[in-house]
C-alpha cells in the first residue's frame, strides 16, 4: 500500500525534521488540514473555484498524431489549460482556502520557475491577501516575465541571495520568513516536499488530476485505468496528482521523468533518484543529491521547475519499493520533444512537461497500450529558452 502513515512517513521517507520554531505552525496544519478538507464548506468552495476559476475539468485529449508516431494510444492530460498555465494552481487554491479557515492574514511562498509564485500571487489577489514570494536571484534573472506577472498581481518578490540563489535557497528563505512570522502567516509550499503534512496535503489537492483522468478515460476507453501514466518530477506535485488514484492499482505503470540535465554523469543534472542518496532536505527524509559529507549539491536542469536537488518523500518511496519507474531526460531531448509536440499537436509545452513527453522514448510499451501523459504546463513562460535554444 502506498499511503502516508500517522507520523507522516511513506515507508522510510517523510516525517517532519524541522526546528522547534516551526513546530507550532506545522502542528497546527497537521491537526487541522484533514478535518478542514473533509468539510462540506471547504469542498464546495474548492470545487467551485476549480471549476469556474481554474477551468476544470481540464480535457483528456487523445493525441492522434503523437499516438501514430509512437505506436500507442496516447492521451494528454491538459493541465496546461489551467488558469495561470500550469497545474500549480490546483494546490494554491486549496491552500489559500485552508489559510483563510485558519485565520491567516499573510501568505508566503517559494518559487523556482515562477509558476508556483504566479499561482500563489493569483489566489492571493483573488482572496485579497498579502503575498510575499521568495525567488532565487538567478531564477529572477532567467524567468523575468513571471516576476513581472507576480508584481502585476500585487505580490512582493524577494530575491533569495543565499547559497546557490535558486529554488532550494528560495525554499530556505521562505522557511526562515515563516520562523520570523509564525502567527498570522501561512506558507504555501509549491510541491509535495517539506515537512509532514505538506507532501500529503499538496498531493491531495493535486489528486484532482487523476480523479478526472479516471472518469474521462472511462468515457473514452471504457476503463478507468490506463496502462501507463507519465509525469515529470521536480518536487513531484504534478506527478503525485496524476499518480494519486493509481498508487494502489498495480496494473497501472507509473513513470516519473526526472531532469537529466547535461547527462546523468555530467555533474550537471537534477536526476535525483539516479544520483541521490537518502537524507534530509527541507524538513523531510527523502532522496537528495548531496556530497558524502551531507552537503546539498546544486542541481542543473534547463527547466527551472525541475531544477531541485530532491524529490518529495512519496516519490522516494515509489522508487524505493519499485512502484515507480524513474527515467532521466536530458536537456537536449526535452527541448526536441517540446518542439516535436508543438509540430505534431499544436501544443507548445512547458519545458518541464516536455521531459514527460520524451520519456516515451525511454520506456517499453506495447502497441495497444493506453498511455496518459500529464502535460503539467504550457510553454509561454519558456519562450525565451525556446528562442535561445533554436532548432525549429
Amino acid at each position: 500500500m502506498i499511503k502516508v502513515d500517522e507520523k507522516g512517513f511513506y515507508g522510510r521517507f517523510g516525517g517532519a525534521y524541522i526546528p522547534e520554531m516551526l513546530h507550532p505552525n506545522v502542528e497546527e496544519l497537521r491537526e487541522s488540514y484533514e478535518a478542514i478538507m473533509a468539510s462540506g464548506e471547504f469542498q464546495d468552495e474548492f470545487r467551485g473555484l476549480l471549476k469556474d476559476y481554474v477551468g476544470r475539468p481540464t480535457p483528456l485529449y487523445f493525441a492522434s498524431r503523437l499516438s501514430e508516431k509512437f505506436g500507442a494510444k496516447i492521451y494528454l492530460k491538459r493541465e496546461d489549460l489551467c488558469h495561470t498555465g500550469a497545474h500549480k494552481v490546483n494546490n494554491t487554491i486549496g491552500q489559500i482556502i485552508l489559510a483563510k479557515k485558519l485565520g491567516k492574514k499573510r501568505i508566503i511562498a517559494e518559487t523556482g520557475a515562477g509558476q508556483h509564485g504566479v499561482a500563489t500571487a493569483t489566489v492571493c489577489a483573488l482572496m485579497g491577501m498579502e503575498c510575499t514570494i521568495y525567488m532565487g536571484e538567478i531564477d529572477i534573472a532567467r524567468q523575468h516575465p513571471n516576476v513581472e506577472r507576480m508584481k502585476i498581481l500585487g505580490a512582493t518578490v524577494v530575491p533569495a541571495t543565499s547559497g546557490s540563489k535558486t529554488l532550494k535557497d528560495a525554499t530556505n528563505e521562505a522557511m526562515r520568513a515563516w520562523i520570523n512570522n509564525p502567527v498570522d502567516t501561512h506558507y504555501i509550499i509549491g510541491s509535495v516536499v517539506g515537512p509532514h503534512p505538506y507532501p500529503e496535503m499538496v498531493a491531495r489537492f493535486q489528486s484532482v488530476i487523476s480523479e478526472e483522468i479516471k472518469w474521462q478515460l472511462q468515457e473514452k476507453e471504457g476503463t478507468e485505468n490506463p496502462d501507463i501514466v507519465i509525469a515529470c518530477v521536480g518536487g513531484g506535485s504534478n506527478a503525485a496528482g496524476a499518480f494519486y488514484h493509481y498508487y494502489n492499482t498495480p496494473d497501472v505503470r507509473l513513470v516519473a521523468a526526472e531532469a537529466g540535465g547535461l547527462g546523468v554523469n555530467s555533474g550537471k543534472t537534477a536526476a535525483t533518484t539516479a544520483k541521490g542518496t537518502p537524507g534530509i532536505l527541507h524538513g523531510s527524509k527523502t532522496i537528495l543529491m548531496q556530497t558524502e559529507d551531507g552537503q546539498v549539491v546544486e542541481p542543473h536542469s534547463i527547466s527551472a521547475g525541475l531544477d531541485y536537488p530532491g524529490i518529495g518523500p512519496v516519490h522516494a518511496h515509489l522508487f524505493d519499493v519499485g512502484r515507480g519507474e524513474f527515467v532521466a531526460v536530458e536537456d537536449k531531448d526535452a527541448m526536441a520533444a517540446g518542439i516535436e509536440l508543438s509540430r505534431l499537436e499544436g501544443i507548445i509545452p512547458a519545458i518541464e512537461s516536455a521531459h514527460a513527453i520524451y520519456a516515451l522514448n525511454l520506456i517499453e510499451y506495447s502497441k495497444d497500450d493506453v498511455i496518459v501523459i500529464n502535460l503539467s504546463g504550457r510553454g509561454d513562460k519558456d519562450l525565451d529558452t525556446y528562442i535561445k535554444w533554436g532548432g525549429y
Binding site: 524541522i18 522547534e20 534530509i280 559529507d293
Partner: protein, 257 residues
C-alpha cells in the same frame, strides 16, 4: 559526571555560552578560537558544524557556514581538529549542527566519536523530539552525551514540559520568533515570555539565545534565566579579526563585565 552538569551545579547565574562556526574564518581556526573562548572566560563552547542549508540561521551564520564549507570543512575534518582538545580545553563543549551531515556520517559513529574526543553534549535543531525519543535517546545516553532542545515563544506550556522531561543538559530558549542574527534590545513581549517560562520551574537550566550580542542583552537575559548564548555577534567579531585571541578575549570580557 558530564561537564555540563558540573557547570550548572556550581554556577546558576550569568552562564555564557559562545557559538562559533568550525573552520571559519580560516579552516584551521577551530582550535585557536576554542582556546580563546576559554581564555576569555566563557563557560560553554558550542562548535557549529557547517551545513549548506541552515534554515534556522540568519545571514551572518549562513555566510560563516558557506565560507567554512568553501574552506574545506566537514564533520570528518572537525573530528580531526578536535582530536586531543581535552588537553587544553576543560570547559563544556557542545556540537551544534543540522541533522543531514550527521546522518551521512552515521549517528552512532558520530556519537561514539563525540565521546572519544571529549564532547559533552549536542544541539541538533532539526531533530524532532519524538524522533529523538524513538531513535536516539538511548544512543546519546550510552555515549555520555547530554542533549538540548530549543523552545520558542510559540511553544506551548505542555510541550515545554515534555521537552524539559526529555532534555538532560540545558534548555535553549530562542528569545523571539526569529532566526539567528543579532538585533538590538529585548522587548517587553520577550520579557513576558522569559517570565512565563521562568515561572514554570523547569528541572533543566535555561539559556537564552538568538539576538544576544552585548553586556546589556546578556544581563537582561541572565536576569530571567541561567545565562545566555551568543552566536552571530561573536561570528562578526571573529570575521574581521586580525588578532583572534586578543579580539575574542576583549569581546567576551566586554559582554561579561
Amino acid at each position: 559526571m558530564n561537564r555540563i552538569h558540573t557547570l550548572f551545579n556550581t554556577k546558576k547565574d550569568r552562564v555564557l555560552s559562545i557559538y562559533f562556526t568550525a573552520g571559519f574564518p580560516k579552516l584551521e581556526d577551530t582550535m585557536p578560537i576554542m582556546e580563546a573562548i576559554q581564555a576569555g572566560g566563557a563557560d560553554i563552547i558550542e562548535v557549529g558544524v557547517p551545513y549548506s542549508d541552515p534554515v534556522a540561521d540568519g545571514p551572518t551564520i549562513q555566510d560563516s557556514n558557506m565560507i567554512a564549507l568553501e574552506n574545506g570543512i566537514s564533520l570528518k575534518k572537525i573530528f580531526e581538529q578536535l582530536a586531543g582538545f581535552r588537553e587544553k580545553i576543560h570547559i563544556p563543549v557542545v556540537l551544534m549542527g543540522y541533522l543531514n551531515p550527521i546522518m551521512q556520517y552515521g549517528m552512532e559513529e558520530f556519537c561514539k566519536k563525540c565521546q572519544e574526543v571529549g564532547v559533552d553534549g549536542l544541539i541538533l535543531p532539526d531533530l524532532p523530539m519524538q524522533q529523538f525519543i524513538d531513535d536516539y535517546k538511548g544512543l546519546f545516553e550510552h555515549y555520555g552525551l547530554v542533549n538540548t532542545f530549543l523552545i520558542s515563544p510559540q511553544t506551548s506550556d505542555k510541550r515545554i514540559r515534555e521537552i524539559d522531561e526529555n532534555t538532560s543538559g540545558f534548555i535553549y530558549m530562542v528569545s523571539s520568533h526569529s532566526i539567528t542574527g543579532a538585533k538590538s534590545g529585548i522587548s517587553e513581549e520577550q520579557i513576558a515570555y522569559f517570565e512565563r517560562v521562568k515561572a514554570m520551574n523547569l528541572k533543566n537550566p535555561r539559556l537564552i539565545g538568538f539576538g544576544i550580542s552585548d553586556t546589556e542583552t546578556f544581563t537582561t537575559a541572565s536576569n530571567y534565566s541561567n545565562g545566555a548564548i551568543i552566536g552571530s555577534a561573536f561570528i562578526k567579531t571573529v570575521k574581521d579579526s586580525k588578532n583572534l585571541s586578543e579580539d575574542i578575549r576583549d569581546y567576551i570580557q566586554s559582554v561579561m563585565d
